[in-house]
């Protein structure tokens, strides 16, 4: 899923400073699962904003809505009739949701309430970790299901680098070295000899280096 963090409250307050009436929109998907942009968090943020503005003597009206998915026109379009009268839309979905709202309602000021971070997994309750950069040409078959593009700080395909120690990345000792994980797994599978194969430079054009990506499925179009 996509993992996000809420923006610092003061930054949000700064963004809504010129507004008297805003609509706060959450998303029921990833933003809810990573506990940053669901109905619960929306309600909490809305009341925090109201309270702060109240104590500042400049009350603000905050309405809330949570969409099933904010990255899908089906749900975003449905807001059409309810968008009038707001000085700004504050979205607490991921960057995709925020942008779709902006694209759909060109006349509206759209503000991000979260910092969209990465695609990851829930490691344990309250801990999320990055796993994929959506590089568009997956190498997991050659790396025992562990992504060196994402999990190695240097995206090394023939790792590890010389900084790997005690199973940790040279970057931080709370981060496993992706290559230690790969080697361990190769060992466990009895395939350590595969380590000798040189992985050639990769084609990054399937990644963001190829410019904004788009997927078209003709068979699904109507």
């Amino acid at each position: 899923m996509i993992v996000a963090d809420r923006k610092p409250f003061d930054e949000i307050i700064g963004m809504v400073a010129p507004c008297e009436r805003i609509l706060l929109i959450g998303c029921n998907e990833c933003a809810t699962v990573c506990a940053v942009g669901g109905a619960k968090e929306g309600a909490l943020l809305a009341s925090q904003i109201r309270m702060r503005r109240h104590t500042e003597g400049r009350p603000i009206e905050v309405d809330e809505k949570t969409l099933e998915r904010q990255c899908d026109p089906e749900y975003v379009n449905a807001l059409a009739g309810t968008m009038d009268g707001y000085d700004a839309i504050l979205s607490i979905a991921c960057g995709c949701g925020i942008q779709l709202i902006a694209e759909t309602y060109p006349g509206k000021r759209v503000l991000p309430g979260v910092n969209t971070r990465f695609m990851g997994i829930t490691e344990e309750h309250g801990i999320w970790a990055e796993r994929c950069q959506g590089c568009g040409n997956c190498v997991l078959d050659r790396t025992c299901g562990i992504c060196p593009i994402t999990r190695c700080a240097k995206s090394i395909l023939n790792g590890p680098c010389g900084g790997s120690q005690d199973g940790k990345c040279e970057l931080r000792n709370d981060t496993p070295c992706a290559w230690q994980l790969i080697i361990d797994r190769l060992g466990a599978l009895g395939e350590l000899d595969r380590y000798g194969e040189i992985e050639k430079p990769r084609d990054w054009s399937s990644s963001r280096d190829g410019g904004p990506r788009r997927r078209v499925r003709e068979d699904m179009r109507i």
Binding site: K154, G162, G163, Q165, Q180, G196, P201
Partner: protein
């Protein structure tokens, strides 16, 4: 001794080689690199010029290499994949060859979060093994990574680094094998303080026959103080400084710290020289280049082979 391919000659004729590292200045003044070069001249076979070492911005390695070359030393251009993509790397490889820089050392580079621009965007388009392979492809096959033909192949002696002290230990020799398969002909190791572990790694290197395919230069670093020993032990990724050395440095009075550091360094050289497959040493006297001639003399290596 300043023939362009001196290092390759010294090594391939079976002489014990000595290289040293030289860090370019954090400014545009060429004098400091000339001064450091002056300390090293006559004591070493070639000089490594670091490439924005520890991800701190310095004068470009290529420029500093040329300054050293003009001063009559043989430079080794260090090239990291952290800051340049394959277009820039290949362009620099051609540039180096055109300037008569004949030795190139390929490495990944320290992560930028350790340097003076932690917010920088890094590149890592290719990795260090792929860089070795790139230089070899350009030299031997006369083509770029993209496939086009090169007019005027770069003549380069290709080196790599290996850290026998990083983990997982069991693949450290295999990793060198990969770099050699990609085209590396000399390897400089991380600073050796734990000689016993280095010897174990060398045994693995010999088992794979790698010492016959590439020249292994053992990394040597003189310690200036117990503080430096502790810092390297605790804060430099992939460095293995045994406790007994830290204690030994701390056990002598302050005014004798440097002397003790050099003593340890000379003992280390003696020990690694005795290990089968070690073809030379690589001295990394970090911001202490002036001590290199003393070390070389102390180790009985002062008379460098004069290769025609």
């Amino acid at each position: 001794m300043t023939a362009p391919d001196n290092l390759e000659k010294v090594l391939s004729r079976g002489h014990f080689a000595v290289t040293a590292e030289c860090g370019p200045p954090r400014g545009a003044d060429p004098e400091s690199i000339r001064r450091k070069g002056g300390y090293l001249k006559g004591s070493v076979d070639a000089v490594n010029v670091t490439d924005n070492q520890t991800a701190v911005v310095r004068m470009s390695s290529m420029a500093a290499c040329l300054i050293l070359k003009e001063a009559g030393l043989e430079p080794i251009l260090q090239m990291t994949v952290r800051d340049r993509n394959r277009i820039a790397l290949q362009s620099d490889i051609l540039g180096a060859a055109a300037l008569g820089i004949r030795n190139i050392l390929c490495l990944s580079g320290d992560h930028q979060s350790f340097g003076d621009h932690p917010g920088a965007k890094n590149v890592h388009d290719i990795d260090s093994v792929q860089l070795v392979d790139t230089v070899r492809t350009m030299r031997d096959e006369g083509r770029f990574l993209g496939g086009d033909e090169i007019k005027g192949r770069p003549e380069l002696f290709i080196g790599c680094v290996e850290n026998p002290f990083a983990d997982p230990f069991e693949i450290r020799a295999l990793r060198l094998a990969k770099k050699i398969k990609a085209g590396a002909r000399f390897v400089q190791t991380q600073c050796i303080f734990n000689v016993e572990k280095f010897a174990r790694w060398m045994a693995m290197v010999r088992d794979l026959g790698l010492h016959e395919k590439a020249f292994v230069l053992a990394g040597i670093t003189p310690m200036k103080s117990p503080g430096m020993a502790r810092y390297m032990k605790n804060s430099v990724p992939g460095m293995d400084v045994p406790d007994h050395l830290v204690e030994r440095m701390a056990s002598v009075p302050k005014e004798r710290h440097r002397e003790e550091g050099i003593a340890i360094c000379l003992e280390t050289i003696e020990e690694v020289k005795a290990i089968e497959g070690v073809a030379g040493i690589h001295i990394m006297a970090i911001e202490w280049e002036e001590i290199v001639p003393d070390i070389v003399r102390g180790a009985g290596l002062k008379t460098r082979p004069q290769e025609p």
